[in-house]
């Protein structure tokens, strides 16, 4: 009987603990990403959630960027998932910028982009090695050039 009682107490404590230790929310990630972007002015956030896959699934976001603006792209990953997000900026089929440079294997949580042409661009978000992931991408403005 004592064992059963003990088991119940363990379950009760575990449930109470689980209630408080909730997963990292997207809103928290937006705030963290805002800190990574430092003093750049917030423009838009993008919430990225992708399942694991081969080839790696991609979330595509069309976005208007304007001439003479220095933009900042920041990314941050949820600690609850294994996937590390990669952001790539495309103009038609040309990749213009990325947060992960394959040649050096370096990841950048923040990159800046100096735009010289107003128009539609595409942001491609994926997770390295096709792992499942949750992340937030942030578009902000650094300055007018």
């Amino acid at each position: 009987m004592k064992r059963i009682l003990f088991a119940f107490i363990v379950v009760l404590v575990s449930v109470s603990f689980a209630k408080n230790a909730s997963a990292q929310s997207e809103e928290e990630l937006v705030q963290i990403c805002g800190m990574i972007a430092k003093d750049a002015t917030f423009l838009k956030d993008f919430r990225i959630k992708l399942d694991a896959g081969d080839p790696p699934p991609v979330q595509r976001v069309p976005v208007i960027l304007k001439k003479d603006v220095k933009y900042r792209f920041s990314v941050c990953n949820s600690k609850d998932f294994e996937g590390k997000v990669v952001l790539q900026l495309f103009d038609n089929n040309r990749m213009l910028a990325t947060t992960y440079v394959i040649a050096t294997g370096k990841d950048y949580p923040t990159i800046d982009w100096v735009c010289t042409k107003t128009g539609a661009y595409h942001l491609f978000f994926s997770f390295r090695d096709g792992k499942a992931g949750l992340a937030v991408g942030l578009l902000s403005m650094v300055e007018m050039m």
């Binding site: 009760l12 209630k19 929310s25 423009l43 976005v63 960027l65 003479d68 213009l96 010289t116 042409k117």
Partner: protein
């Protein structure tokens, strides 16, 4: 005794599990508390965007921050007469009109924030909060923080950021809650007011960047119309489209060409910077330029006078 204790524990476990589930699923989803009243529900079936179309919907079509930064960057002095008066907000009645007004006042707020005119900001955030409440998105507008920042004239960067984040949350929520048309209308309001402010600046500044900015609205207008046309069966949207198409027609005489270059990657102050080297050339006659200015000002006047 032991059985009674066992029973109490069982009840506690079940209660804790149920409350835990509730708090987890709804902790960040304010939308669960909302019921859209009949007054703002659509009588006619409004096309609902499929998931793919929503994913494809263009982002950052009109941003008050970029427009205001451009104007301020050209050293054009602040002018309150450029803005729509807060008193005019009483004229907007339907959810369509209120969404449009939300965009217009959102742009004006961006202009005020950029020039750090916090004394005017409070009136504008009050109007925006009321309009947002009227279309059931007021909970995403961080009114108390904005009011505190503006009242105390403190941390004006945060004022800009929180304003932007509030609009971004409203936009996200409307898209996710089967009311994406209102999101598109807010964006349209932002575009109309941003373009209007640019035309007002064009009348006091001959800076070539202002002329180019008005010219390049051709590109942006194409994408904005694409989004708005999804809802063209809605009578209010149909009327709005008729008006905005008149502006678009003038842009047929604006020629935009590009010279393609290879992007460069450099490191500046510890940050990786990618620099585009493409060139954009915008050409239009003085007559077309003046017609565009007039038509945008007429559009804005028509939308704000009932």
């Amino acid at each position: 005794m032991s059985r009674r204790l066992l029973y109490i524990l069982l009840v506690l476990v079940v209660t804790a599990s149920v409350s835990s589930c509730k708090s987890c699923s709804n902790s960040d989803d304010l939308s669960q508390d909302l019921v859209v009243p009949d007054s703002i529900a659509f009588n006619d079936p409004v096309p609902v965007l499929g998931e793919t179309v929503i994913e494809e919907m263009m982002q950052n079509i009109a941003s008050p921050v970029e427009t205001a930064a451009l104007i301020k960057g050209l050293k054009v002095p602040f002018n309150k007469d450029f803005l729509l008066t807060t008193k005019a907000s009483e004229k907007f009645n339907t959810s369509f009109e209120k969404s449009l007004a939300l965009g217009i006042y959102g742009c004006d707020l961006g202009y005020l924030n950029m020039y750090e005119k916090s004394s005017f900001v409070i009136d504008y955030i009050q109007v925006i909060k009321r309009l947002a409440d009227d279309i059931q998105v007021g909970q995403f507008f961080d009114f108390s923080t904005l009011k505190r920042l503006a009242t105390n004239n403190e941390n004006l960067d945060s004022l800009v950021t929180i304003s932007q984040q509030s609009f971004s949350r409203i936009d996200n929520y409307l898209r996710e809650s089967n009311r994406p048309m209102l999101s598109a209308v807010i964006v349209a309001g932002l575009w109309v007011e941003g373009s209007y402010l640019t035309t007002r600046v064009a009348q006091v500044s001959n800076h070539k960047r202002i002329r180019e900015t008005l010219g390049e609205q051709k590109t942006i207008l194409i994408f904005l119309l694409k989004v708005l046309k999804v809802y063209e069966k809605d009578p209010s949207m149909a009327k709005f489209l008729t008006d905005i198409e008149k502006v678009k027609a003038l842009y047929d005489d604006v020629k935009i060409t590009y010279e393609v270059g290879e992007p460069e990657m450099v490191e500046e102050d510890g940050v990786i910077v990618f620099k585009q080297t493409d060139k954009q050339i915008v050409e239009m006659s003085d007559e077309t330029y003046q017609k565009i200015i007039d038509s945008i000002q007429k559009l804005r006047a028509d939308l704000t006078k009932f």
